[in-house]
Symmetry: D2
Subunit: 396 residues, 4 copies
């Protein structure tokens, strides 16, 4: 049983609480901190939390608390983490870890120095679909991974602080790109170094300083490419999709808008409002169990099982730091219009990995370019002469 | 915390156990009964169960046990239930409740007389998609429900006892139709009486005595129609789909084969075997989290929350009995080729419900038949004269 | 080049004309007949037809006309056909052929006696998806066909005469069921006799005399089952789906609402109206090329190629007659609540076909019930003893 | 009626011929040229072409020929075009027009100088889905277009010359990117200037000199972004998808692998081979009518209707030239790793277009950032102060 201090009572804090105390969970939030008294009280009441406070340290240091869950705006993560270090409480922190890699690195170094359990709440690498997809990739079902794309776009976040660059640290790249980068990185291999980033970003629609739309390519040391597509200007709901290409296969995951649940309503029957949809009539695409589909349940299970067994979580502050370093390069690239190197002072994976290569032998003289069935049922091969480089075609 | 005796260590018992003790659950299987010692021991080891036995009563009467989970072949349900009554332990029983309504009724009467908690483990009315769909229907998003179809077909069950009519009590109608009937009944309204059933059934492919394919229509007192499509001869995996039509809307649910997760693999990369799929190369459609998608998690949560709060579960032995009564009528119909009445000695819902009707008024003289936009952007109405019955068309 | 007289200038006549004279077609409508002068003139103008008239016979007998296309309300088909016989003009007639089998039979006998080319315009067995699916079925990709379902539901037809039982001859069974019956019959085999029909039908919503919702099962002599689901009360657009189950495979076809074209619009941008959709904002599912997707192009190509080469079309008046005979049985069944025999005075297919059977041999002693991979990677078989009937399980 | 000389009898020439002479077309191939006599004869026989030759000029200059259809390897386009100019025959040329913009420009200038009809056979902007999507975009259903992505990936082309950089002029960027660029350009507006390109390209799998995988971003003068994703290393079939984001809506088009036609086959029934699929068992996704779905029918209709009415086709050599210029920039960028300007000596669209902007007014003091419904049913707005730049939240 984990006894939790929740920092923050907003949209994400409540979502986390629904998961933490949902189903038949043995875990319990024992203290809630919110800047506003009214909000802290309401949360305490709704989730039957014994202790509430408007002082962050009072919650963290509360004697019953074993682990602190940070659900605060990005600019408040570091201070909270440092208090956890001071009081030697385990800490799990929402995404992105920092507003930039420097901040993230300080947090990582602090928790490691303090020797406390630390987990990075990157829920989208804990969705059931992702976990099964990753298992297939790791089993080799897709062969060598060539490209992994993750897309998260929607009509914009719910709380006002996201739209303020100072508090948030950036726009949709930071808010959504952090998910996409870690998804692609996981498929390609978390031990493979991300080396450089090319990113386009623009503020196309919203009256804000930060970007509301961006696309980036992340090149890994083994030649694989990660791609992110993020936006706060998408119309139609929450678009969450991943695609992976390998030499032997393909994966397509749709995590939200097309999951096998489709509803049409004229709206005459009732004041029905579909959650998070942009409309409440016509064809709607609800998600059955958002908490589970978004990975919260499996994420907290990994966090607390790891904590209780003394092992690191699948996602630690180190992962949060790597993600921030990639996003920093993306921001630099969006400005410089160049491929920008990923600056990783700390790197714990492989180094010097060579580019994957896999020419298929046909025979001593030829490489196989392609093999296919012709319309006439015969097998045709396209071959390349290893020496001359000439391409020929043979029907077998 | 629920302390459970599990009766049966086969496919379904293990599936239940994965859910019961999965994620961060506070519930615990404290005793396992299996007919075969080897199987009981293995289960106890795998799920860290303190007590195992090959005597059913020893498990049920075990002092730590609060509630008994029956995961046995159909012909063993009744004996197990009677032992639970004898020892005053709560009981939750897998589907179908009985091999027929008579058996189910005896079980229902026994648990009610004994005053013990009873739950009917009809998981498919607990899937997250179903629960959200039902909520929309109950909110009126679809208007008056006209028709609800549920389809479950696959290439046949895993264990041999299913294929033996004596143990199973029937073929795919009993095995799969029990799900479909309760799904449709839930959408139409569990207080609306199912009145008669027409069913076609045949043994088209398998060398067995029971049916391997059937289609049935269930007429409810309010004129709504439930439809079930069940088969053990389907090729391509597990096809689980529901459809609902109402006067104001439509719901389509695909619970297994198309849920937003698609994978192609040449099979060269690895010996990957996709669970429950009929093939392990080409395009595959895995399900992210089977336990959750199949409703197990939400089902056990309802069961134990209900038990702990002293309320009846959403699905009780009474529901199991109603389902058996509908299936009995289906079997009779498949033989007699007639619409057969559903015989319900016990009925706790509404009676004398009239057929739903909803002519739309247009004005004093006319009913509205249809309204549509013409190609020219004008609104057109088709009307019926209330008195003369004449149909006319008007462009507005 | 085919020179066509078009009888009828309504919705379906225009749809046909768009196909007949569409793309780079060499065919030409040379005469248009409409009951209303204004409508005839408008059609002539829109489609550049040289001759228009309000007298049916004048169009049919027009010297340039080679073939007559009947696009009239159901109650006017027979008279038009008889005029074609009189003037020895080829005739192609929209669906359903007659309001009942008697009428259809008279038309069939008339055209055959007159020796004129006759085609039955059942477009949905000419859709590109259907044609390719049928080819796969005929190649054996699905093994022995067990069941073929076709569903057509929408919010009701466009023209007022459909809603008038006298003119239309019936409700959605006749209007939509004719498509579904011929689709299922084609998959099962047009030479296999449909023997009996069970049908439920009701008027659940609309203020009309005919049925607005029906479901039917058609049993064929070889034991295969055709199923139709038809309604004028569906909400959400035009739902056109087919499913086929065979011993070796499955086919799912969605012809309209989910064809790989999805659009979301707030509706703010423009007064955009999506054709045939029930709404013009939110998620919409347009069809790229309705004429092609609905089979019109391939249908007319078959008709005129057949006519020019002196061969019968794939769909003749005989097929229309068989369909009407099946629908007659459906109407009788909806009233009698019995499986009603299909009365076919004329039957040109096989007779005395035995029920398909395909027990799979395992060895001398056993039939194979099922074969599957266990979780442990071993192969498991479920077998039935040929003599004792006992079911056993073996892990190999 | 168009009388056509076909240059080239390979895969694409046959595909074109199937469309040109398909259905009830009035057009006719009157001469076929192929480098190999055997191939020319075979084509003439299969398509009933009166004249065949192995001399290109003999076919072009054949007196019956009105229009020449170039279906040759990329390096032979220019010579063929010049002969058409010489003989004043109309010319339609397969994609890409040239191996680079220089070549394309020479062709464009030659046909314009000669005053002959010229069409660029970019079929994918003629698919029925694309045409309807474009119409919606042009009607304003999506508001201002922000981003248009087109993806074409498959396991590699059929003929050997594609794999030879000299003949083909490049790899998958040239072969597939030409489609994607014109699709995105069409959605964004063909009168909007593409200004610069960023492209990643690599040879990840195939033993060839050219790229087998590439991703590119094309920036347009109005700030909109076109994106192409192309590969010859994709596993699973032909992946053809487009996506468009606008301020008021979204479009998703799947043109090949998910079009509402799904088949599962064990392969036991027959030697069925699904066309173009990578496997012939398991789940397969055939396309109903490839010729129509790939745009050939609508493309040739536009070409010949335009030619006959003396109007330019929707796609002319000028468009082919613009596409080549964009692809040239992509190739330069893949090498330089910089955003490369699109060099367009000839530009016939708008110039000096400003970046689209569309801040939504809320009132005198504020811009609207976002509006949404809260869980409590209240409307919430997020606003930005026009002067201070401060972001605030208001519940109404």
């Amino acid at each position: 049983m984990a006894k939790i201090s929740m920092l923050g009572s907003g949209f994400i804090g409540r979502f986390y609480a629904d998961s933490l105390q949902g189903q038949r969970s043995r875990d319990k939030i024992v203290s809630i901190y919110s800047r506003r008294e009214e909000s802290a009280k309401k949360f305490a009441e709704d989730y039957q939390v014994a202790h509430w406070t408007t002082e962050m340290e009072a919650s963290i240091s509360h004697p019953e608390v074993e682990v602190v869950c940070i659900s605060l705006p990005n600019n408040l993560h570091e201070a909270a983490v440092l208090l956890c270090c001071k009081h030697k409480k385990g800490v799990i922190c929402t995404k992105p870890l920092g507003r930039n890699a420097e901040e993230a690195k300080r947090m990582m170094e602090a928790v490691e120095k303090a020797g406390i359990f630390n987990g990075y709440l990157e829920d989208l690498v804990y969705t059931p679909k992702f976990l099964k997809a990753l298992e297939s990739v790791q089993n080799g079902a897709l062969g060598r991974i060539l490209w992994a794309k993750s897309r998260e776009t929607h009509p914009g976040p719910h709380s006002e602080w996201f739209w303020d660059k100072e508090q948030a640290g950036g726009g949709c790249i930071l808010d959504l790109g952090c998910h996409c980068v870690e998804i692609a990185r996981s498929f390609i291999g978390k031990d493979i170094k991300p080396v450089e980033v090319m990113c386009w970003a623009d503020t196309q629609v919203k009256p804000i300083d930060a970007e509301d739309h961006a696309i980036g390519l992340v090149k890994y040391e083994n030649g694989a490419i990660g791609q992110f597509e993020v936006s706060w200007t998408f119309r139609g709901g929450l678009d969450l999709r991943d695609e992976v290409m390998g030499t032997e296969g393909t994966i397509w995951v749709n995590s939200f808008l097309r999951t096998g649940f489709e509803m049409f309503t004229t709206g005459k029957g009732a004041d029905y409002v579909a959650e998070k949809a942009e409309s409440n009539t016509g064809w709607l695409f609800p998600v059955g169990d958002e908490l589970n589909e978004l990975g919260y349940n499996h994420m907290f299970t990994d966090m607390f099982n790891s904590m209780e067994s003394g092992k690191p979580a699948r996602e630690t502050f180190y992962d949060g730091y790597v993600v921030n370093a990639v996003l920093d390069a993306a921001y630099r690239s969006a400005k410089s219009k160049l491929w920008e190197p990923v600056q990783l002072d700390v790197w714990r994976g492989k180094t010097g990995v060579e580019k994957g290569k896999g020419y298929t032998e046909y025979d001593e003289q030829y490489y196989l370019v392609k093999e296919e069935m012709t319309h006439f049922g015969a097998k045709k091969v396209i071959l390349k002469d290893k020496k001359s480089g000439q391409i020929i075609e043979k029907t077998l």
